[in-house]
Symmetry: C2
Subunit: 402 residues, 2 copies
């Protein structure tokens, strides 16, 4: 955590303090408290100090683990497994104990706690800017190293997936004269990728990716292995048999179990002969990636980087949201996003995207989509530096495999 | 989903509708919308109908997948990647479009959305009872089957863990006369469990559990593999080398990737010779489990079931929260909890726990803890039936393994 930056971002609050009520699943909470509590707990920033309040069962671990300045437990406020009203009384007492009569809460903080504090005379304002999220966007060297380490696990998982796909047989090829050994006999359609004689499915590749991530100390959120028309929907996670000659998008975003930081990378593969159109798309997307990366430097905005990717596509006649906000084909998402404790966080590389600063860790991920053609996306992860950027993706960019 | 029960729970709202703003990570949202949206989206219950509002990229999938009665997209409210105020305007328009001027939100709904709707004249009340959570507590047969299926994966993972532990060598045993082949040579302390000549760690066992869960279609949240003094802290996930003669608690709570329903089970193992005290604890805990299960039937309360477990311990002179609310050793947690889309949900088997109903899926998990002795916990998962309960845990209860 960059404490100076956090203090700076919270310096001009119009309230006495900043309150988070969430479990470790909330990245703001994890950042501010430094504690992996599985159940919701309170963290209060007031007078430059960070105070955590947890239940008795978590107290020992929180005292050891939390990076907060002070850890208290429910018993300090004479609360012992009481009802909802007693719990809210404790929350108000905890806040007031720090001399705080008004707090800011992030937009996604719980309305139940906000209203309960209001009923008890504590003023609650919504921090619409989500300042802790903004503070999180700029990483320390230690945070960048944590993301880099998760990216190494990511690359091991991508390699396992690529090997499975590149090593696949194709049903209907090499059919012997008598046809008897044709693996496409029965239910398997010609062109289907085969692994050990069985159709190679998105689910099988996903399993291989996720097992590899676990073996490398990462947990997983969701993985995308989508081929053919499925790949044309950027949110489709993919299912069923994969096929030759189609583009297969693999998007992996693991989270380190130890550090809780994420990585993110996408590659697109094809076994066999992609269509001319898919080849053009792949080349264009690689150029869009390079153009966007070239635009990354301190002072450039996320909008600038997005524009650089859009221009490559627009010059080639492909639709983007800039040329047609209603389009359902072409480049239909933003160019990238910040990565940290959340896999999607600030800054945004999109229309309206903010100015880039050294320490921003970002993805750059242009892509083209059309259900009649398929989908192509290439995504690298990089950190903005004083001079420009450092791309810490070490995975090759190669379309046709196998 | 039991729609009749849901309608019943929402019938006496004092507001016109019930609003959820959350991603699929929120179990209430997943239940009400039936949609696995990765980003927060709105679901409104009004006049007995469930309406979902998603962005354009999610619209196709939401229309196919959501169990809601109607799916709309942002473009239906002329919203296209605008700012925060425009988004909140859209939310208010979506609500008003259904004739709704006042909504209830769950206690953990986002205060940002609640306050933005209030600013736009929509009344927002906090549903302190968390009615959708309450509705979720009673499962349909289909939901019970989903949990049962996750439990089968859980048992496969437990078996993999048990085999790893039971198959371990013990450092310092079988030392040959010249001592040269003693695996305890060097850094390894005598008594350490060994796998392939290396210390068997909590992390290694956890990895085996998690890989097995993945191979069985389950994702994982967190797994506990804690031995010795670590096992005495019910929230310690465990780390480092496991040892002979100590109690090793393994608590696994997987989530089916397909259905999103969880299972939950704990076993305690020992390689070698447990102390007399640990043996007594294990027998007591098995008796507490039986006594608690015997108390499970419709009409009994969660408090009754908890009392049945407590009495076994108290009769044996072990402290519980009932005899000493401040105790840090003994039976220091509740007897169990509901399991469903959340791994911890209603009902609570604890002081103040509510009346049990057929369809409640619950854990029963008594345990004893003391850093000087270790920890023992045994946890089964069962469904409350008209007649009593059905325990659908098929894993044996056995302490000494290997």
């Amino acid at each position: 955590m960059n404490r100076a930056r956090l203090d700076d971002r919270l310096a001009d609050l119009e309230t006495d303090g900043y309150l988070i009520d969430a479990s470790q699943d909330d990245a703001n909470q994890l950042y501010l408290s430094g504690f992996t509590g599985p159940d919701p707990f309170l963290t209060l920033y007031a007078d430059g100090e960070i105070h955590v309040l947890v239940g008795g069962l978590e107290y020992g671990r929180a005292k050891k683990e939390a990076t907060a300045d002070a850890v208290e437990r429910h018993a300090d406020y004479d609360y012992e497994y009481g009802g909802r009203e007693e719990r809210n009384d404790m929350y108000a007492a905890f806040v007031r104990d720090k001399g705080v009569e008004s707090v800011s809460m992030p937009p996604r903080g719980p309305v139940g706690t906000a209203d309960a504090l209001r009923e008890r005379g504590v003023e609650v304002a919504v921090d619409a800017d989500d300042r802790i999220r903004e503070a999180r966007a700029v990483k320390t060297d230690e945070e960048v190293d944590a993301i880099r380490e998760a990216q190494r696990a990511n690359e091991a998982a991508m390699r396992a997936a690529e090997e499975l796909i590149a090593g696949a047989d194709v049903a209907g090829e090499d059919v012997p004269a008598d046809g008897e050994d044709d693996p496409a006999d029965g239910e398997i359609e010609p062109g289907t990728l085969l692994h050990d004689g069985e159709p190679l499915t998105s689910e099988r590749v996903t399993e291989e990716i996720e097992v590899t991530l676990l073996r490398h100390g990462c947990a997983l959120d969701q993985t995308i292995v989508a081929g053919g028309a499925q790949a044309a929907d950027p949110h489709d996670r993919g299912s069923g048999a994969l096929r030759a000659n189609e583009a297969i998008i693999i998007d992996i975003f693991p989270r380190s179990k130890a550090t809780k930081y994420n990585a993110d990378m996408t590659r697109t593969f094809c076994v066999g002969e992609p269509s001319e159109r898919l080849r053009e798309w792949y080349d264009l997307t690689e150029r869009a990636l390079d153009a966007a990366l070239d635009a990354v430097e301190p002072g450039a905005t996320g909008e600038d980087v997005h524009a650089a990717a859009c221009e490559v596509y627009e010059d080639a006649g492909e639709p983007t949201f800039r040329t047609d906000p209603e389009t359902e084909t072409g480049f239909i998402h933003s160019t990238g996003h910040g990565v940290g404790l959340d896999v999607h966080e600030s800054p945004r590389l999109a229309s309206g995207g903010e100015e880039l600063e050294p320490g921003h860790v970002i993805t750059v991920e242009p892509g083209l989509y059309d259900p009649d053609v398929g989908g192509v996306r290439i995504e690298d992860i990089a950190v903005v530096t004083e001079e420009g950027y450092e791309n810490f993706t070490e995975y090759p960019i190669e379309f046709v495999v196998g």
